[in-house]
């Protein structure tokens, strides 16, 4: 019985790593990183080989990809969408803006960087980052998500609540 459960857990871990579904969210980005994220799905880079799918609804997603320096208007939306993603989940900050607020630092219209509001697992720096870097970041986030979920399988965090946990993976690209 224990053997079967173990096998099932290992299979689940493998499947989580092989099937990252993304939800893309713009928190005031200049559209540069958004274009690069979409470019990673095009024939040249073809992220679908890793099982990546860009989903329309945050409910379907495993990995939340956030671009932009987090404007004041976007904070509420980010918290809501993070709560709507069902666990286990991971967050990828795409571009330099969500990591450091980039050239917009000290702007009074911003409330960044992103990790002030939700835990971020992978940072993909660049202005904008190249599509291959984004794919690597997503693959890393999928591996982190699978490992973390396997470690505390019994305690998947409840969904539809704003971010309260403070565990950050802090994996620098």
């Amino acid at each position: 019985m224990g053997e079967t459960m173990n096998l099932w857990k290992r299979m689940m871990c493998y499947c989580r790593r092989r099937s990252p579904w993304l939800f893309h969210m713009n928190s005031g980005s200049c559209n540069g990183c958004d274009i690069e994220l979409v470019a990673s799905l095009t024939p040249r880079y073809d992220a679908e080989q890793l099982g990546v799918r860009l989903e329309g609804s945050p409910r379907h997603a495993d990995i939340l990809c956030i671009t932009g320096p987090v404007t004041r208007n976007a904070v509420g939306a980010i918290k809501t969408v993070y709560g709507q993603v069902c666990g286990p989940k991971a967050v990828v900050a795409i571009g330099s803006c969500p990591a450091t607020t980039n050239v917009f630092i000290d702007s009074r219209t911003l409330d960044g960087p992103l990790d002030k509001h939700i835990p971020v697992d992978v940072y993909v720096p660049g202005c904008p980052p190249r599509p291959d870097a984004i794919i690597q970041g997503v693959a890393k986030a999928a591996a982190i998500l699978a490992e973390r979920a396997a470690r505390n399988e019994s305690a998947i965090e409840p969904v539809a609540e704003p971010a309260t946990e403070s565990t950050t993976g802090e994996v620098q690209q």
Partner: protein
Amino acid sequence: MNLTTALARFLIFPGLLFAVPAAWFFLWVERKAVALMQGRVGPPFMQPLFDFVKLLGKSTPPRSGLAGLLMRAWPLIAVSAAAGAVGLLPVLPASGGFEGDLILLLALLELPSMCIIAAGFSSRSIFGEIGSAREAVLSVSYNVVFLLAIVSVAASQHTFRLEAMAQLPSTPLLWIGVLAILVCLPAKLHLNPFSLPNAEQEIYSGPMTEYAGPELAMWELSHGLEWVAATGLVATLVAPHITIGWLAACVFVAISFAVVLLLSVIASATARIAIDSTVRFYWQCTLIFAGLVAVVAISTPLLLRFRP
């Protein structure tokens, strides 16, 4: 058909044991064909299985009350209806069946789309409601051609038995019917150019917007089973009558595969069209099909009478 054969057909072949792997295979073929048409490599072979297992391991948002209960029930009803439809297909020769099983098959094929409509409305999401309304309009327009095609083929043989439908001689009426069914399948399976209910980039995920985790896995499975059932229906009508069991099964799978490939290629080569154009298209198809059937029905006895 006694209970043992019925159970064997539902659980083993062409039922669950065959249909679930076939559903995942067809979902992969669809994604791979679209990827190849776009010049990409596409997902690995086991991708639908990975997605399914992963979705089973995700949590679902807490839902309470009757609406929550209904939201959990719809995907299960859809999966069982689609699996039942696959189980009814007369793949193996002399596999039994009963008078009127064609009507049951049509009802079971229609049930998943009813569940999608209900699911979108019970999720109370605005995108779900738009998607459901589109699905309802689409279903009203394509089902007229679909049912007309099948009923006219069945009526020409004076039977509603699937077994008799599978042994039909190849008449012009049968081929017109198969063509009409093929025209309806993209709408039934929500493929381009008629992917209106789940229109990505337009209304998020349509009726599925609020679904997550195991429930979404059930929707994916029911979509795959719908693929097997719908292409299987075409395969049953088209396949030549073969008395050897395993050969009949192989021919069935081969024809289904060809239909899946055809539909995927059409899906990747076309763009989504607007809802009013879709409705107009299907009603024009209905008129053309009805005209063709009338011509065939009048001309066949005349030709037979004047045959030298």
